[in-house]
């Protein structure tokens, strides 16, 4: 069952990632935890290194060549971050944060506190990551707001049958673009339409979407959107918030300090223009350079091709798992279904995910075991934890084959 895809050379791609060359106790690493955090190609590390070695200085105010060059490189990362999702005005609408969690907190603290007063209704889903729940629960501790959750059905997908009812009277709807547990990809179109009909803004969480397929925030007609650098071959320490300029203009500032101000007096201050209004203090400069390089790497391969590769590999993995292990219970859509990404969560008989993961590690296979920062979803699934395999552009059939072998060993050990 060979995967054939013209021009997609997974062996070459794999060799671009130094960590995937690591040998642990005689086993080559098989990295199947990219949904938690991906690995980085040489080009990303080199871009950051080059930045630090030749061009580092603080940005935006220096009147000397190195500082101007540092500013240019920092702002280039922003433009790349916007280009990747087809943001209409990246130079003003892309806010660089420390991770996407900060981005959602920024929205909850500023847009949320300015617009959601007692009695307001917002809509989330049962399959959100904590990053898109807790900021709203914190707001709910302060104010009498109602949070409605779009439920998931038995097919693990959002149940959109009651959509108009769900969003009725809501001011804000925020849904994950792709689940980090179920592998489902959200059908955003009907949600955006219903929300806009109801007069609500719509934010989507792109953390698990942007790394894996082309995303166009304009075509999706979204209002706000976030994603995170380290899951898309970029460095840690950087996240991306996009929102329509009109929304950002209206929002009060979030963090206060240098760079986000226009003027400061002892008794007050005025804010800077977009996007710097939301970027207080020294920003993640080298991280923006790294993010830009990561995006270029993805663009060069092509996100369409990456998505196609992942789809084939996901089918191979789902088939292999079900074929070898009848006791496996997969929490998510099956092989060859639409809107399905490369995240595969499962129960392995009654062997606890911690034990599964620990034994897999002995074979060099890295997978995640736990609640995946989605405790409400875990409760809905009726489990405390799952084992999660996640596939990315550098994984191949051989990785899946090693996983199957290693799972066989797990079974033997705990039989």
């Amino acid at each position: 069952m060979a995967i054939k895809q013209s021009e997609y050379d997974v062996t070459k791609i794999k060799s671009d990632f130094p960590l995937l060359d690591r040998v642990q106790d005689g086993n080559k690493i098989v990295f199947l935890d990219s949904a938690a955090s991906s690995q980085r190609p040489y080009s990303v590390l080199e871009a950051m290194d080059d930045y630090y070695k030749t061009t580092h200085a603080n940005v935006h105010r220096g009147v000397y060549a190195i500082a101007e060059e540092a500013t240019r490189r920092y702002e280039e990362g922003r433009l790349a971050a916007g280009r990747l999702i087809n943001a209409p005005d990246p130079a003003r609408e892309i806010i660089l944060t420390k991770n996407v969690t900060e981005a959602y907190n920024l929205v909850a603290y500023t847009w949320g506190r300015a617009n959601l007063h007692d009695g307001a209704v917002i809509v989330l889903t049962e399959s959100e990551h904590h990053a898109n729940i807790v900021p709203w629960l914190m707001l709910k501790q302060e104010r009498d707001i109602t949070i409605r959750y779009i439920p998931i059905g038995d097919d693990f997908r959002l149940d959109l049958s009651n959509l108009d009812e769900m969003v009725k009277g809501a001011k804000f709807v925020s849904v994950t673009g792709a689940s980090n547990v179920l592998g489902t990809i959200t059908d955003l179109e009907p949600i955006v339409k219903a929300a806009h009909r109801a007069g609500a803004l719509v934010m989507a969480d792109g953390a698990q979407l942007v790394p894996h397929r082309p995303v166009d925030v304009q075509a999706l007609d979204l209002d706000l959107f976030g994603y995170t650098g380290h899951k898309l071959l970029g460095p840690t320490g950087i996240g991306v918030l996009w929102a329509r300029a009109a929304i950002l203009e209206e929002m009060p500032p979030f963090l206060g300090g240098g760079e986000m101000i226009n003027d400061v007096r002892l008794d007050g201050f005025t804010t800077n223009e977009l996007p710097w209004k939301f970027e207080a203090g020294t920003p993640p400069i080298a991280e923006s350079v790294g993010l830009g390089a990561a995006i270029r790497y993805l663009e060069e391969i092509g996100l369409e091709k990456i998505a196609a590769h992942e789809a084939e590999l996901t089918n191979y993995a789902l088939d292999s798992l079900c074929e070898h292990f009848p006791e496996i219970e997969i929490f998510g859509p099956g092989a060859r279904t639409e809107r399905r990404g490369g995240v595969i969560s499962f129960r392995f008989g009654d062997i606890h995910p911690h034990d599964v993961s620990q034994v897999l590690d002995q074979h060099g296979v890295c997978v995640r075991a736990g609640h995946h920062c989605a405790k409400p979803l875990m409760r809905r699934l009726g489990v405390n934890a799952t084992t999660r395999v996640s596939l990315y552009l550098y994984n191949d059939e051989h990785d899946v084959d090693v996983l199957i072998e290693a799972l066989t060993a797990v079974k033997k050990m705990f039989a």
């Binding site: 642990q24 606890h352 034994v359 050990m413």
Partner: protein, 159 residues
């Protein structure tokens, strides 16, 4: 890297497969305490009956990984019939074996009281859990039941 055989000793797998003192007790006379490992969602429910300063009965229910289950099972076997003072001493020794200083902060890298070689007399089968220390993420699994026990003893004393 530490080998798996350090973690999954045969005796651990035995307790995991056939847990001792599984079940529930009537409350009162027993106290019932729930323990929870937020990292992996493991849960343990501990029923403890103390009569005249002695652990007269103990039962465990809940779910978790092999390490948390077997640790709870071994613990139940080790404390049953012991007096509360002995049990508290055992808890101290067990935590020391897990490199957790008395203050209880499991991530402190500060100096840990030197503990002598594990004494099989006191520790018995529990010594098998020593290997867990090499797998820091799993320490919380191994100590879950013991932290729950501390709470149960406190509550039993308060009654």
């Amino acid at each position: 890297m530490a080998g798996l055989e350090d973690l999954y000793r045969e005796i651990i797998l035995d307790h995991y497969r056939s847990p001792r003192n599984r079940g529930e007790l009537a409350t009162p006379p027993a106290v019932r305490i729930e323990g929870f490992n937020p990292l992996c969602g493991d849960e343990i429910v501990l029923y403890l009956e103390v009569t005249d300063g002695v652990v007269s009965d103990v039962k465990i229910s809940g779910q978790g990984c092999s390490i948390s289950q077997s640790s709870a099972s071994m613990m139940s076997a080790a404390i049953k019939g012991k007096d509360v003072g002995e049990v508290r001493a055992l808890i101290r020794s067990f935590k020391a074996m897990m490199s957790i200083p008395e203050s209880g902060h499991e991530h402190d890298d500060g100096p840990v009281e030197e503990i002598g070689p594990i004494d099989p007399e006191t520790f018995g089968e529990l010594a098998a859990l020593q290997g867990v220390v090499k797998f820091p993420v799993r320490i919380k699994c191994a100590t879950l039941s013991w932290n729950t026990l501390v709470q149960a003893l406190d509550e039993a004393a308060a009654n």
